[in-house]
């Protein structure tokens, strides 16, 4: 598929961009990343008639050994951002700096050496494993592609990996269909670990799993992080899972980060109205919290990323929106009273303790009328 990306310039072996000592430098720096997907019409002369603005100027940093949670609703661009970070999508503009090297303009060949150090775990353990290949060769693929190990040595390494992720190494020759969902996700984890990466981007790694199995995988990922000093970018829509695994959390809405900060701080006192609404809408498995909490119900749907709202993209659904919100886009900045790392893009951030009130259309009036209306004629037709 053609793309709107500028031609890739031969970057060569660039020297590291920053002079800071290796240990202090963030492992991953994402600078102003933009990703647009063109929309085309026509048969012979495909004209571009618009673009889906999937990611629109996202900047973030991830430190070594850290887990950054990325949350947001369907279509907010979190998966696209993940694929931009690993360069599975070329960027429209912006830079991705991985361990001091700008990988956003590298050629495929140059990229390969860096790819070894960044791996991805996908959501669907059924779709992400080739059903016609044996588990041993699936997990061994990265080793073969990068020429790390062959033959008996590869098999030995693969079986070691299987053991690390809690699979029986004797199952080396089985097919993915012989494994349950949780075990398949372990295969995906083993494959991601094969090249001893520094960064693993986990795109909804536990969403497709049953709750009892989900905890097994979360614990496995946490153990591996300690053992192999891994850095995670962890995408999930389940806020409880993100809160559990993340050191810091970034909240995305329509292609932009609206709030980012330490997990405890962001979950404890969200400053962006969208974060507050998202948190209050998530249903915690604790009846006292679930029923006592004040729920901010947002009305309407997420607007189209083809034609996003002006100003603050959230203003069309925001309970606190003022006229300025539709005109001027608020910058992502530290709000008064927040810690240095907690940034929010909002003109009117939520004050701790404030209760947001949704602008409800009159649901209950229509429902009452429906309930009160006498059952229609034709009732006698019933048996």
């Amino acid at each position: 598929m053609a793309d709107t990306t500028a031609p890739v310039s031969p970057a060569g072996d660039e020297p590291p961009l920053t002079a800071a000592p290796v240990e202090d430098r963030p492992l991953l720096q994402v600078e102003n990343v933009v990703k647009h997907f063109p929309i085309k019409r026509g048969i012979f002369f495909k004209r571009q008639i618009g673009s889906v603005q999937a990611v629109e100027g996202v900047s973030l940093e991830v430190c070594r050994g850290e887990t950054l949670g990325l949350v947001g609703e369907t279509g907010c661009g979190k998966s696209t951002l993940a694929r931009c970070i690993t360069r599975l999508h070329p960027l429209t503009s912006g830079r991705v700096i991985f361990d001091g090297v700008d990988i956003s303009r590298l050629s495929a060949r140059q990229l390969r050496t860096h790819r070894r150090r960044m791996q991805m775990i996908f959501q669907d353990p059924f779709g992400s494993l080739n059903p016609r290949r044996r588990v041993g060769s699936i997990i061994g693929d990265p080793l073969a592609i990068h020429g790390v190990a062959d033959g008996g040595e590869r098999k030995r390494q693969v079986q070691e990996l299987m053991e690390v992720v809690g699979l029986n190494p004797e199952h080396y020759n089985r097919f993915p269909s012989e494994f349950s969902g949780g075990q398949r996700q372990r295969i995906g984890v083993a494959r991601a670990l094969a090249l001893r990466p520094s960064l693993i981007v986990c795109d909804e790694p536990v969403s497709a799993l049953d709750v009892s199995v989900q905890a097994q995988i979360i614990n496995l990922l946490e153990d591996l992080q300690g053992e192999f000093n891994l850095t995670y970018v962890f995408i999930a829509h389940d806020l409880a899972v993100v809160e559990h695994v993340s050191d810091r959390v970034a909240v995305m809405y329509l292609g932009k980060i609206v709030e980012m900060g330490g997990t405890a701080e962001l979950f404890g006192s969200p400053r962006h109205p969208y974060t507050a609404a998202l948190l209050s809408a998530s249903m915690v498995a604790d009846p006292d919290k679930a029923r006592s909490s004040h729920r901010v119900v947002l009305y309407g749907d997420v607007p189209s990323p083809i034609n996003p709202p002006s100003g603050c993209r959230f203003h069309t659904r925001c309970p606190k929106a003022q006229p300025i919100c539709s005109v001027e886009e608020p910058p992502l900045r530290v709000q008064a009273g927040d810690a240095a790392g907690h940034v929010t893009a909002c003109h009117f951030p939520v004050v701790p303790g404030e209760q947001l009130v949704g602008t409800a259309p009159a649901i209950s009036a229509a429902a009452t009328a429906f309930a009160a209306a006498s059952p229609e004629i034709g009732e006698e037709d019933r048996a």
């Binding site: 190494p169 009892s212 498995a285």
Partner: protein, 363 residues
């Protein structure tokens, strides 16, 4: 008397691999105006049991009893069931895109539901469809009745499904994973809408889900299912604060942010069981940290335990072994310690043998 009373329901499917025993003796009641949450993992039989009540499981062997307002549902013919379905008991499904017909406009599909059951003119049915869409807060309902399902967002489609389900004022609404495919904010909108409609119409609901958060929010009574049977039933507070069954206890410990979890998650070991070769005795025993010899041998009865009024559990632990804290677990462990014999020893040996064998192979 309960609105719906299900007794000893069994559902099995003959397949080439053997008989899949999806539901193996399930009993529950739904009271008028109340919400029953049925929780379970994939393959626990929660959806199958609901579909069986409405005769939507062709090819299944069904036995047991399901009495709805004095009528035995399992004895009805398809054409008699058709009068019940939609009008008396309505259902909404997980995926609104595949459960709405892609060829027909949303309004047409709602009209069809109305006109199947009521003698109503086309114009009148269409007028009602518009009102129903307005009621479920779909903007510009006069235009949206002419929309095709693919023209609506996921949340709107699910609203249209709800409108269709409520069109005939059912006494019971079965919602099978109603919000699983939807985002958190949309889920909150819909559950608020459903709750409001339930109060207005005095309708009972069965909410089938794997999401304990949803159950904690909406259910009055919770039934936890495991391998086609009821594992535990209690009011929503008891289930979360003083569960009896180790499976319920295990679920709560494995969910981030749940009432009984803290710090590191404690997953349930192993995988959900096969429904063709279900484990002997209590189906949960291979995964249960408190398994005793009796659990391998005999299936525990679904009997009252001491968590509160109407608290039932199918577990051989003593009735007062309830709770989620360390003290409760210690008490369970003390009870279990003297009751483990050769059966558990064999189970342990088999499990560790599998692990050791794996280790040898690669060494």
């Amino acid at each position: 008397m309960s609105l719906l009373s299900v007794r000893d329901l069994t559902v099995s499917f003959p397949t080439s691999d053997g008989v899949v025993r999806a539901v193996r003796g399930l009993s529950f009641d739904v009271e008028a105006g109340q919400t029953l949450g049925i929780v379970g993992e994939t393959g626990s039989g929660k959806s199958v049991s609901a579909l069986s009540l409405l005769g939507l499981n062709p090819g299944a062997d069904i036995s047991g009893s399901a009495v709805f307002e004095g009528t035995e549902l399992l004895a009805l013919h398809q054409d008699q069931l058709r009068r019940v379905r939609g009008a008396e008991i309505a259902m909404i499904f997980q995926d609104p895109l595949s459960s709405l017909h892609p060829y027909y406009r949303v309004g047409w599909q709602i009209c069809e539901a109305i006109r199947t059951h009521r003698r109503t003119s086309r114009e009148e049915a269409m007028r009602q469809a518009v009102e129903l869409l307005r009621m479920v807060s779909i903007p510009q309902p006069e235009r949206r009745v002419f929309a095709f399902p693919h023209e609506l967002s996921g949340g709107m489609r699910q609203r249209a499904m709800i409108a269709m389900a409520l069109a005939l004022r059912p006494k019971l609404l079965i919602a099978d994973e109603p919000t699983t495919a939807l985002d958190a904010t949309v889920q909150a909108q819909l559950m608020e809408l459903l709750g409001g409609m339930q109060r207005e119409l005095g309708m009972a609901m069965i909410v089938i889900t794997h999401d304990l958060g949803l159950v904690a929010t909406v259910a009055d009574t919770v039934l936890v299912m495991y391998a086609g049977r009821g594992a535990e039933r209690a009011d929503y507070r008891t289930i979360f604060h003083s569960p009896h069954h180790p499976y319920t206890r295990g679920l709560l410990a494995s969910i981030p942010g749940a009432a009984g979890s803290g710090g590191r998650l404690v997953p349930i070991v192993g995988q959900p069981p096969s429904l063709i070769r279900t484990p002997s005795g209590c189906a949960f025993h291979p995964r249960c940290p408190f398994a005793m010899d009796v659990c391998v041998r005999d299936q525990p009865p679904f009997v009252p335990v001491s968590g509160g009024e109407g608290h039932l559990s199918a577990c051989w632990l003593p009735p007062d072994a309830v709770g989620v804290d360390a003290a409760a677990d210690a008490a369970r462990q003390r009870y279990v310690d003297g009751r483990r014999g050769p059966a558990i020893a064999r189970l342990r040996a088999a499990a560790s043998g599998a692990r050791a064998g794996g280790g040898v192979a690669h060494g």
